[in-house]
Amino acid sequence: MTNVVIAGYQRSPFTFAYKGALAKVRPDEMTAQVVKALVAKTGVEAADLEDLIVGCAFPEGEQGLNVARLIAFLAELPQTIAGTTVNRFCGSSMTSIHMAAGAIAMGAGRAFICAGIESMSRVPMAGFNPAPHPGLYQRYPEAYVGMGITAENLAKKYDISRADQEAVAVESHARAAKAQAEGKLSDEIVPIVDGNIRVEQDGCIRPGTTGDDLSGLKPAFDQAGSVTAGTSSPLTDGASAVLVCSEEYADAHGLEKLARIRSVAVAGCAPEIMGIGPVPATEKALKRAGLTVADLDIIELNEAFSAQALAVMKETGITFDNTNIDGGALALGHPLGATGARITGKAAALLKREGKGLALATQCIGGGQGIATVLEAC
């Protein structure tokens, strides 16, 4: 089977929806700038690309039509490069990587750009025109359960205290703030420029966040619950992209290989505890790679909610020490469709930077799913 590698990772700054610096930037424009920067930085010959695969959780409005094709035009990729938009909610852009890897493995292309897009300012979560199936909602309301409630459910099920949730958030902010201060995020970030707007830095990180800051917040989803805005990832605007290609192509063109894709998996779970999705997905992916959690050096586990990340750690034995070492979504933000390519690209980049052997990127997905990617050093 053809080896598939990640040979580049870039993202936009992540900023708060509505009040952040990217709120007024169209998501297609923002993503195109990231794609363009990735092409420039990796040195990949654009004409060699097979497809631009863009993950998006709410593909409508400015993210509508086939936004991948439009991004290709905006990024001035050659017309010969195809484009497709994929949706698996928060797992969308990790799915785009999986699709590229599968295509490469079967010889259907050598190089792909796998991107993620989400302006939660400009396309609301749940879309402009939510139209749930009345019968399904009546019979099985869990199908449409709100994300915050799934975190509450996990907090209850795994007996996760509010203080424990807040400790994760405090640590996530501390790690992200440290990484930012030490310049460890600057390599991956593409400044976004649009008219008079210029955004160079992440905007969601709150350095110096303490448990006291968080303990005063009101529950955000259930008045009797424990999940607050401080222990939930914020609504975020952002875009991300990775270059996925065959190892052979990377070697032939002298591209810098960040990591090799060892295995991938998706799995379904109960929607009302969708946050546990990484557990079955990780189990499957590790099994396919012939590995166990203990073998992993670097883990990127998306922090949709503190409670959710803690539940996954409890269930899998993943430790927080080697997870999200530059901070997670609680601090960095979670632009739904863009997160998968961020954490996969980040895991690959960390393997290289830290000189480690094996990494996992995994995340939960609304509706009850998990997705996982196992990476190894090249």
Partner: protein, 778 residues
């Protein structure tokens, strides 16, 4: 002088900033400047801070948050140049003549020729302010005195100096009237002008006499409150509201300025026990609602919040004691019954009123030549229900003069002149006022500013019943007036709406709907529905709703233009009347909304239908049916009330082409003008059909509301009521590919209404509203 198109306000304190906000409310750009504080990073921090603070102030100085953008902030060192294109510069800085004059000298260097400068001073004489600044400046100078808060207090006192140009002064007055909606009252250049001259005397007499006559604060407020036509806070409650610390300042400044023989001096005594008590309260931080408490306070005792009042003799707080004065009840029979009552409340009322009315009568012509101006000032500046001279008419000028004489007190010359007469008189359809010479002068009614009373005078209604009437307001236009208690709508009101929809048969060509009442209509009389439900008279209730729907549709489909002219509250059914009119001409201070869910019901007279249609038809709202329906759903399911006509426009209650009148006195005239403009070529509206998403939208709403319930933002019964609202707005069992007619929407409303009126929890809500006056969150 040309029109005032741009204004500057100097001084961003409470008054200056509030004036700037209200000018912005009128849609006029305004520059707001203040000094640069020492060491400030932001050199315009005072003005910027004032605007930021006003965006959070309640009651809101802005009629719409967007209006804040019309204020250009700056400071007096860097931004004087911004004044160069201002037509009016209003100064509202510290009350110090030298500082003001120094400022005027600087303004003179930058302001454009012919611009007018005014001071918002309440104490400094005009000629002192212009001293040494030359004739040209004096020609451009006047006093404009606003009352706090400028958006809500309708009085604007204006003083013309000896040199003030007529055209500049007229332009100012016109701007104050038409753009700012103020009751502009001409004042002479005397201390405190009209409002504060009488108002400060009144409050001084009222507080001191309460003490001297041994009344508790509750007793005093039960008399110098509603019974004497004063807001229900009464005199001590008013002190708590405005700040007890303010009192000594204003009294001290007035005492310095009033003539040597002014009766105010008889009531101001630094050694009086009440003066000492208030000094101690201020020193201890008991400055009223903004401080630790005032004459009243709420405090926690054993975890329970209790209301307390201060004992004026001991200065200690004690549990609030309701006033049981019989005189307060006797006041229902009239002002005279109150002041003649033998108990201490009656004596107190007599003491306060006799002094205040004598004082007012003695001040004409010193402070004004026009008793009507005096009355208007007290009504719109101090929110009195009646002005002093109206109160004298209520008591009887002869009676008052005789009683004063009998007590050996001086009788004011004006009161003597009024013997055998009244200050106000109506005759032959005209209104007259007593002048200082003892003659009557006609009160002119302007073409473009009148009250319904002006049109009704000396006439019989075209039609009338207990709750509503139809009047001829001239030029072929009829006016439908609601006049039930709080203008709640009952079957009589509905009958009159039906009659109003046929006035073309009586030769009218247009209809306006409005009145002089404080509130357009507080909505349907739910007491009737509660009574029906308790007796299980379901068909009667259903008929009531259906006939209301029919009446509203009749109004909408009448073959002539219908213009609603709301002012104050237009809630529930009152809002539905507006929604079924061809156009709305609203007073800027209109509070409109569909509030039925507050009593566990949904808008059943076409409110759901109209708000749905208005939102769906709004071309500015793109992207499918849900954003439109969500807007209507949010408005109805949360009983949202617009806090101004400008906000009602956001809610689609007002549509494009609907107008807003800033001045209450112009609302009906503007509505009539609008109705007449629509007569030619009028075609009744086409029946509307809309595509609605059906159950999927209802499901989406249900999901959202259940989320709110889980967050604790909605009660379980809110979820049930909202489900019915959601069902109506989404079109019931329709599909997005099918059209829904107005008739179908009305049928859905009726069905939803009848479902809800049968629920015990709805009846609990109605009962709670009727007995407690506020919604029950069950």
């Amino acid at each position: 002088m040309a029109e005032i198109r741009k204004v500057a306000v100097i001084g961003a304190g409470v008054m200056g900033a509030g004036i700037a906000a209200h000018i912005a409310n009128a849609g006029v750009p305004v520059v707001l400047l203040d000094i640069v504080p020492k060491g400030a990073n932001d050199r315009s921090t005072i003005a910027n801070g004032a605007v930021a603070r006003m965006l959070k102030t309640n009651p809101a100085p802005f009629m719409h948050k967007r209006n804040a953008r019309l204020i250009e902030t700056g400071n007096l060192e860097d931004d004087l140049g911004a004044l160069s294109d201002c037509d009016w510069i209003c100064e509202a800085i510290i009350e110090n003549p030298q500082i003001k004059r120094d400022l005027y000298a600087r303004l003179n260097e930058v302001r454009k020729p012919g611009s007018v400068v005014t001071s918002n001073t309440s104490t400094i004489p005009l000629n002192v302010l212009t001293d040494g600044l030359g004739d040209a400046f004096a020609g451009d100078f006047a006093i404009t005195h606003f009352f706090n808060p400028p958006r809500y207090m309708r009085l604007l006192e204006v003083v013309k100096g000896a040199h003030t140009r007529d055209d500049a002064f007229d332009a100012l007055k016109r701007f104050g009237d038409e753009k700012l909606g103020k009751e502009v009252v001409d004042c002479k250049d005397t201390p405190g002008f009209i409002g504060n001259r009488i108002g400060i005397f009144w409050s001084t007499v009222a507080t001191r006499s309460a003490y001297d006559l041994g009344l508790t604060v509750e007793e005093a407020d039960s008399i110098v409150g509603r019974p004497t036509g004063v807001p229900k806070t009464g005199i001590f409650g008013l002190g708590d509201l405005t700040g007890i610390d303010l009192g000594p300042h204003v009294i001290a400044s007035m005492i310095d300025l009033v003539p040597a023989n002014d009766p105010l001096r008889d009531f101001v005594d630094a050694e009086h026990p009440l003066t000492r008590l208030t000094q101690k309260m201020i020193a201890d931080g008991y400055t009223g609602r903004k401080g630790k408490g005032g004459f009243y306070r709420r405090t926690k005792i054993d975890g329970q919040t209790v209301k307390q009042a201060i004992d004026l003799k001991t200065g200690e707080y004690r549990a609030e004691q309701r006033s049981t004065l019989e005189s307060a009840r006797a006041a229902r029979k009239g002002l005279r019954a109150l002041v003649e009552h033998p108990d201490k409340g009656g004596q107190y009322a007599w003491t306060v009123l006799s002094h205040v009315l004598s004082y007012s009568a003695d001040l004409v012509p010193e402070i004004s030549d026009d008793i009507r101006g005096v009355d208007l000032a007290m009504k719109t500046g101090y929110a009195w229900k009646w002005g002093p001279f109206e109160m004298i008419d209520m008591l009887g000028a002869d009676w008052l003069a005789d009683k004063l004489a009998a007590e050996g007190r001086p009788v004011p010359a004006l009161l003597e002149a009024a013997r055998g007469k009244t200050f106000y008189r109506q005759e032959g359809g005209k209104a007259y006022i007593l002048t200082t010479s003892g003659d009557y002068a006609e009160i002119p009614v302007a073409q473009d500013a009148w009250t319904l009373a002006d049109k009704k005078r000396g006439k019989e209604p075209v039609k009338s019943n207990a709750s509503a009437s139809l009047w001829d307001v001239g030029d072929g236009v009829a006016c439908l007036e609601f006049h039930s208690k709080m203008n709640s709508l009952d079957e009589n009101s509905i009958a009159m709406i039906v009659a109003a929809a046929k006035i073309d048969k009586l030769g009218f060509k247009a209809l306006i709907i409005g009145s002089d009442a404080d509130n357009f209509s507080v909505g349907a009389n739910v007491g009737v529905a509660l009574f029906g439900a308790n007796a299980a008279m379901w068909p009667v209730i259903e008929n009531g709703v259906a006939s209301g729907q029919k009446a509203m549709q009749g109004l909408k489909n009448a073959p002539f233009p219908v213009v609603a002219a709301p002012a104050g509250m237009a809630l529930g059914g009152g809002c539905e009347v507006c929604l079924h009119s061809d156009a709305i001409q609203a007073h800027a201070e209109s509070y409109m909304g569909l509030v039925e869910v507050g009593v566990g019901l949904l808008p059943g007279w076409g409110g759901c239908k109209e708000l749905t249609i208005r939102n769906i038809a709004n071309k500015r709202r793109p992207q499918g049916p849900m954003p439109a329906l969500s807007a209507a759903f949010e408005a109805i399911s949360t009983a949202k009330v617009a806090t101004s006509a400008q906000e009602a426009r956001d809610m689609q209650i007002l549509r494009e082409g609907d107008g807003i009148s800033m001045n209450r006195n112009r609302v009906l005239a503007d509505a009539k003008k609008k109705a007449l403009s629509m007569v030619e070529g009028y075609a009744k509206p086409e029946p509307i059909e809309v595509n609605l998403p059906g159950p999927t939208a209802a499901t989406a709403f249900q999901m959202a509301v259940e989320g709110f319930a889980q967050q604790g933002k909605a009660t379980p019964y809110d979820v049930e009521v909202a489900a019915q609202v959601g069902r109506v707005l989404s079109g019931g069992d329709t599909d997005i590919t099918e059209v829904v007619t107005e008739k179908q929407l009305l049928a859905l409303e009726l069905e939803g209404f009848m479902h809800l009126i049968r629920q015990e929890k709805t009846l609990q809500r109605i009962e709670h509203m009727l007995t407690k006056g506020r919604p029950l969150r069950n």
